[in-house]
């Protein structure tokens, strides 16, 4: 109900974008994903690890779905009549991108862990 045309759904999107931006910058500075420790050195319990792989896959799938929500918001916002709509459309682009990156990381880890589990199963016990 203001002259700028800002509506409730814009506000949550803008707040999400602000938090995500700050958290991402902090993440990239302090613990960039390309420097993460190897999974092999953590002495995974195979039973725990199997559950963990499932969780990772589920998480990746849910994040892909979430990215699709962001993908829908982009054109809807861009086509909106007010400046707030268009800003929301632009804001949804990096949000969707970050969501996809997170989904990819979860997917990659689940694959790596699966491979690790297969290797440990093939190795004869000492």
């Amino acid at each position: 109900m203001t002259g700028s045309g800002v509506q409730g759904w814009h506000v949550t999107l803008f707040v999400t974008a602000a938090i995500t931006l700050i958290a991402t910058i902090e993440w990239l500075i302090n613990a960039p994903p390309w420097k993460r420790p190897s999974l092999t050195g953590h002495g995974l319990d195979p039973r725990q690890a199997r559950g963990y792989v499932m969780t990772k896959r589920l998480r990746a799938a849910l994040l892909v779905l979430l990215a699709l929500v962001a993908v829908v918001i982009v054109p809807v916002g861009m086509l909106g009549p007010t400046l707030a709509d268009q800003l929301a459309g632009v804001t949804a682009v990096p949000l969707g991108g970050i969501t996809l990156i997170l989904a990819y990381l979860s997917y990659r880890e689940s694959r790596e862990m699966s491979a690790l589990l297969r290797n440990s199963a093939d190795r004869p016990p000492p």
Binding site: M1, T2, G3, G5, Q7, G8, W9, H10, T12, L13, V15, T16, A17, I19, T20, A23, T24, E26, W27, N30, A31, R36, P37, H42, Y52, R59, L62, L63, L66, V69, A70, V72, I73, V76, P81, T82, A88, L95, I98, T99, L102, L105, S106
Partner: protein, 395 residues
């Protein structure tokens, strides 16, 4: 394990909460901007209604009102309004029955229904119905007598319209030159007839079909017009000019013109004040807001109409000379202070008679004008044909 991915979990959680709540907010609370077209006649008071519309537009950027002014007369208002694509119509009271009969408008419930003056409420209904309203009164109106007071020291007795309305010094809309001024002529003739015979048009808008009754009621007016005793003018604007330029004492007009007339007269050294008084029975006028049956924005149109017709809007319009439609505006002490003549206007509106409430009103008005004009100005006798014609139009 958890610590390794805590940042990502946080990010994932933030994105999940933010994107899902935005999506849900979009689906459930999104408001698409709408522009509603309001078809209306000209604004006579220099801004009262436009001010309200501007206020709405400022407060509601998602539902804007675009005003489309359509000059029209009684004969062509239906055609002109309906050939215009509009969401809301600002209708003269006489057009509501036809718009309802032709299914161009839908019933609507006003927000201040219980406070509407009964006479004002009645003209928003159609024949045979006592519950549904087909439009919400925007402003009311009733024919009134303006009088020039030149000396406050002399006693100012309430004038008798039966006498002063037929005497030198009086002006009214008793001449017509075309479709634009015909309705004012019809209204003035009905008021003069009512002054002579209260039963010629009843409070439900039902006309008498007695030829003798009409002849008797109109004879004094015919005499005054043919002998040039009174000043017959075409339309409200010309009447005001004649009143001002001729320094006349009495004028029949609508109260909506009072602030302008009063302001102009107060600047003259020979006028102390303009005062208003009710006619024995004036004709009820006023504009009413109705929703187009085919509008895709009915809910928004209803919100707009409620804003424009509710009590605060009535109080604001009263300051511009519009007669309020509801009791709450008439009894408001602040409005009474700003509009000292409000009590007289209320009496006039409450006692006013509606014109026939019928889809065939335009035809009736045309025939009524043709017969009475010929009688009053050209001296042609009123015959049974007059009664047959008006009765046929209202069947």
């Amino acid at each position: 394990m958890g610590e390794l991915y805590s940042r990502r979990s946080f990010l994932a959680g933030t994105l999940t909460a933010g994107l899902l709540s935005s999506a849900a907010g979009y689906v459930f609370t999104r408001r698409d901007p709408v522009t509603l077209t309001l078809a209306t006649g000209a604004e006579p008071t220099g801004g009262g209604r436009n001010l309200l519309i501007n206020m709405w537009n400022e407060l509601n950027p998602d539902i804007r009102i675009a005003v489309r002014e359509i000059p029209s007369s009684t004969q062509d208002q239906f055609a002109k309004f309906t050939e215009t694509k509009a969401d809301i119509y600002n209708l003269d009271a006489i057009h509501i029955p036809r718009f309802a009969a032709e299914k161009r408008i839908e019933p609507i419930a006003p927000r201040n229904d219980t406070l509407l003056l009964p006479s004002v409420r009645r003209i928003c209904q159609v024949e045979g119905e006592t519950e549904r309203l087909w439009a919400v009164p925007f402003n009311s109106d009733a024919g009134m007598l303006f009088r020039r007071v030149t000396d406050k020291k002399t006693a100012d007795r309430l004038p008798d319209f039966r006498a002063v309305g037929l005497a030198p010094g009086f002006t009214g809309q008793l001449e017509t030159i075309g479709a634009q001024t015909d309705e004012a002529f019809v209204v003035n003739v009905l008021e003069q007839a009512l002054a002579q015979d209260d039963a010629i048009l009843d409070p439900e808008g039902v006309l008498s079909y007695g030829l003798g009754q009409w002849k008797t009621a109109l004879a004094p007016l015919a005499d005054a017009l043919r002998s040039d005793r009174i000043n017959a003018q075409t339309g409200e604007d010309d009447t005001i000019r004649a009143f001002q330029n001729g320094n006349l004492t009495y004028m029949r007009n609508w109260p909506v013109w009072f602030p302008g007339v009063d302001r102009a007269e107060r600047a003259r050294p020979d006028t102390v004040e303009i005062r208003l008084s009710p006619l024995p029975a004036g004709i009820l006028g006023g504009q009413n807001l109705a929703i187009d049956r085919e509008t895709p924005h009915r809910e928004q149109a209803e919100r707009v109409i409620h804003f424009l017709t509710d009590t605060p809007a009535q109080k604001l319009l009263a300051g511009y000379g519009f007669a309020p439609t509801g009791l709450d505006a008439y009894i408001d002490s602040e409005v009474q202070r700003n509009v000292p003549y409000l009590r007289v206007v209320r009496d006039a509106v409450e006692d006013a008679r509606p014109r026939p409430i019928h889809p065939g009103y335009a035809t009736f008005a045309q025939r009524f004008k043709d017969h009475t004009y010929a009688y009053l100005h050209r001296g042609e006798e009123l015959t049974q044909r007059f009664i047959t014609d008006i009765r046929e139009a209202l069947q």
